[in-house]
């Protein structure tokens, strides 16, 4: 199969590729440059040129050597591809030493003061010292158990639906739409805020960090979903007044940026409330985000409603069902199942939007970072802080998007 000519090419090509890789690796890891007798630019491009020639020499349609065929098929189909492949590999090799030394080798994590950070790399001590603040905000340290307990309770109650027996299953929707939000609200209110049952009162200004992100996104999700459903139905309604009001609502909220909505909630909304009526800033923000996200939710749900075949409506009507009966028992269960991935994406966007509450003075994780950054004892560690927060958000959002892909795949097969 392999001609003798090609065998020579193969050896020569492999040798050239090896030389180019060794050159770049030595250069990157040990700062050695064994081609520095050549003029600057040639020395710089030499590995790339050698590697490209090498890949050109080993390129062949079919050789019978399994590994070589896989290599050729996947990264070496043309000269252009070969150059790109080499560039990516070189970039990775070049990026490893500086990032490794910054993040791990020259970094510090021991100690609990700024003096511990002596290395040239990252100062993870900073993250360690501030960790509790990033998680819980200015919430008193000895009361953190209350936040943890509240979250565990809410999650356990949320999972309770999975245990429902056949008999109870028909009440599940009722539980999740009405009972669960109320219970969750009460738990979070009484456990985290306190003020009753002998628990110390902690004002919402002290709440913060990642736990605030969770609280805000949790409440916004459970409230925006039913609201969005109402507006989705409204937009599909045959009653002109209802339809136009719904369209107006949806298009209005979708047309403005969240940041202006938050501004509205903090400076304009108090003007619209009765004089002696005080509403907490956090509550106002939650209402604002809920109204905002409900519009997006409504559009997603409308997509599901439109995707249902007309026959479903006709069949329900022919059974003598009225508007509400038809929607509750026939249309919505099917439509909502269709839009689960879309809703998951809306929720993802919601979680990514929560750091914005920082602009109205709620110290969510981005706010805590800004606070820590300007602390005179800890100046100059912005990079570590933002990398830490980015990793946390990345994990949360990536997990959610993967989960929504799974849901999408799961429900696709069922139809």
């Amino acid at each position: 199969m392999i001609s003798k000519n090609f065998t020579t090419n193969l050896y020569l090509g492999s040798f050239l590729i090896l030389v180019s890789l060794i050159d770049v690796t030595l250069n990157s890891f040990f700062k050695l440059n064994f081609t520095n007798f050549l003029p600057g630019s040639i020395s710089f491009f030499l590995p790339l040129i050698l590697g490209t020639i090498g890949l050109y020499l080993i390129r062949s349609d079919y050789t019978g050597l399994k590994q070589l065929d896989i290599l050729n098929k996947n990264v070496n189909t043309s000269n252009f591809n070969a150059v790109l492949t080499l560039l990516i590999i070189f970039l990775i090799i070049k990026a490893i030493p500086p990032s490794m030394s910054w993040m791990i080798l020259d970094a510090n994590i021991s100690g609990d003061s700024r003096e511990a950070c002596t290395g040239t790399g990252a100062c993870w001590t900073y993250i360690k010292v501030w960790f509790k603040r990033f998680m819980y905000g200015m919430y008193p340290n000895e009361l953190h158990w209350r936040i943890n307990a509240a979250f565990i309770l809410v999650i356990v109650l949320g999972m309770a639906g999975l245990l429902a027996t056949e008999k109870l299953k028909k009440y599940l929707a009722l539980y999740y739409v009405i009972i669960y939000p109320i219970i969750a609200f009460l738990i979070i209110y009484y456990l985290i805020s306190g003020g009753a049952f002998g628990l110390e009162w902690v004002e919402t200004g002290a709440w913060g960090g990642l736990s605030l992100t969770f609280i805000v996104s949790f409440f916004c999700l459970i409230f925006c979903f039913p609201l969005g459903m109402i507006f989705a139905l409204g937009r599909r309604s045959s009653l002109p007044t209802v339809r136009y009001i719904s369209i107006g609502y949806i298009e209005f909220w979708r047309g403005v940026p969240l940041i202006t909505v938050l501004f509205m909630s903090s400076v304009m909304f108090p003007m619209f409330l009765p004089e002696d009526f005080f509403m907490d800033k956090l509550v106002r923000v939650i209402i604002a985000i809920t109204l905002f996200e409900a519009a997006y939710c409504a559009e997603v749900i409308r997509g599901g409603l439109q995707a249902l075949p007309r026959g479903q409506y006709d069949a329900a009507k022919s059974l003598g069902m009225g508007y509400w009966k038809m929607h509750i028992f026939v249309i919505l269960p099917q439509a909502l199942k269709l839009v689960i991935p879309g809703i998951a994406n809306t929720f993802l966007a919601l979680v990514k939007d929560t750091p914005l509450i920082f602009v109205v003075g709620l110290a969510e994780i981005a706010g805590m970072l800004a606070l820590a950054k300007t602390n005179p004892e800890w100046l100059g560690f912005a990079m570590e802080g933002y990398i830490f927060a980015s990793i946390i958000f990345w994990i949360i959002c990536y997990a959610m998007s993967k989960y929504s892909y799974n849901l999408e795949a799961k429900y696709k097969t069922e139809r």
């Binding site: 009653l239 209802v242 990079m383």
Partner: protein
């Protein structure tokens, strides 16, 4: 009669609810404003603003009225939006095409790029670029020149300024070239439909767009000079650059973050669009003898664009709305200048927040209307 009645009641109730909510709010607002001695009105727009805007595209100083501050801030917002849209389109198309590459490494690098930048909140990305990455740039006195003429420093990006003479003649020549191209294209299409002849439209267009502006330089008296930034010492430790255009670091951070973030969504749109064109289409086109270029231009792209453009416009809209995050790093955009500084100074919360929201709303609705019009134009006309 009964049926009609049944339809009227819910409508009436909804309307009543909306009117009641609005009435309640208006009443409260009136009472509150009376109590605090604030009156409602837009007269403040003509008053002197007496605050400064760090960076603006138009001439502005503190003596100008509020409405002029509004215009300056709106232009800053639009500047970021336009820059972001240009860059995110370039990055997005490249990454989207790269995700379909036959090369394993490129495909996966592109996929990781998308997964990475899409899943980190935009605000954190803006903060990262502004407070962490751009702070690592050199001071003005230590900056190395890029291409010999521009300097990337911690205080901003200094690039050469263009000094035009007879700019209007140059612009006319470009307009003329575009008109010429349209005429040539129409003529070529007619020629092809009637006689089956094909003109090298692309080369003619290229020639027109190059030659006409070139002529304006040679005979039209147009000239272009570059003013290169020069370092200048303000005090012993403080340096800056004079001449040229200085782009503030806020603008750079914002443009970077917005375009890198939005590009991930555009990449997904592009990928979906190209994948959405069936394989059979390409095969059918090849079987009637079109060459690969023609297949791409006449068969694949028109169909892919139909899928790509609506969600992409949506992303442009999102980018424009997200540019309001500028307020978080003190880039003087509409939200910071108008809903921030101007609101603080005048205390006209309702008026100012409404104007700001209405501005964004009309931008959104305008782009949405444009998109609907375009959608109608390119949608498949079934007979």
């Amino acid at each position: 009669m009964n049926n009609k009645f049944k339809r009227l009641i819910p409508q009436f109730l909804t309307l009543l609810l909306v009117v009641l909510i609005f009435g309640f709010f208006t009443l409260n607002a009136q009472v509150n404003m009376d109590n605090r001695g604030i009156d409602f009105g837009f007269g403040f727009l003509k008053q002197e603003a007496s605050f400064d805007i760090q960076f603006s595209l138009v001439e502005y100083d503190g003596l100008d009225p509020y409405w002029w501050a509004y215009v300056a801030a709106l232009l800053n917002t639009l500047l970021v939006a336009v820059l972001g849209i240009i860059f995110c389109t370039i990055i997005g198309v490249i990454v989207g095409v790269a995700r379909l590459s036959s090369n394993y490494l490129i495909r996966n690098t592109a996929a990781w790029y998308v997964e990475f930048f899409r899943n980190i909140p935009l605000l954190l990305q803006i903060f990262f670029w502004y407070y962490a990455a751009l702070r690592a740039l050199p001071l003005p006195q230590d900056a190395e020149p890029l291409l010999g003429v521009s300097y990337l420093t911690i205080k901003g990006f200094y690039i050469p300024a263009m000094i035009w003479e007879n700019l209007n003649i140059f612009l006319y020549s470009i307009v003329l070239a575009i008109i010429g191209i349209i005429i040539v294209r129409t003529y070529a299409r007619k020629l092809q439909e009637n006689e089956g002849k094909q003109l090298p439209v692309f080369y003619i267009s290229l020639g027109l767009i190059v030659i006409l502006p070139l002529l304006s330089f040679l005979v039209g008296g147009v000239s272009l000079d570059f003013e290169i930034p020069v370092i200048k010492q303000l005090s012993i430790t403080s340096f800056t650059y004079e001449g040229g255009v200085g782009l503030p670091p806020e603008l750079i951070a914002l443009t970077l973050a917005l375009s890198l973030y939005t590009a991930t969504f555009i990449a997904e749109c592009v990928r979906a669009g190209i994948q959405g064109v069936g394989k059979g289409q390409k095969e059918a086109a090849a079987s009637i003898g079109l060459n690969p270029n023609q297949i791409l231009k006449l068969v694949v792209m028109p169909q892919a664009l139909r899928i790509i453009i609506p969600p992409t416009t949506n992303q442009y809209l999102n980018l424009t709305k997200n540019s309001s995050l500028a307020a978080a790093i003190a880039y003087p955009d509409l939200v910071l200048v108008f809903a921030g500084t101007a609101l603080m100074q005048t205390g006209k919360a309702i008026e100012i927040v409404s104007i700001t929201m209405l501005t964004y709303l009309s931008l959104s609705l305008a782009i949405a209307a444009l998109m609907n019009w375009y959608n109608k134009k390119i949608e498949i006309k079934e007979k």
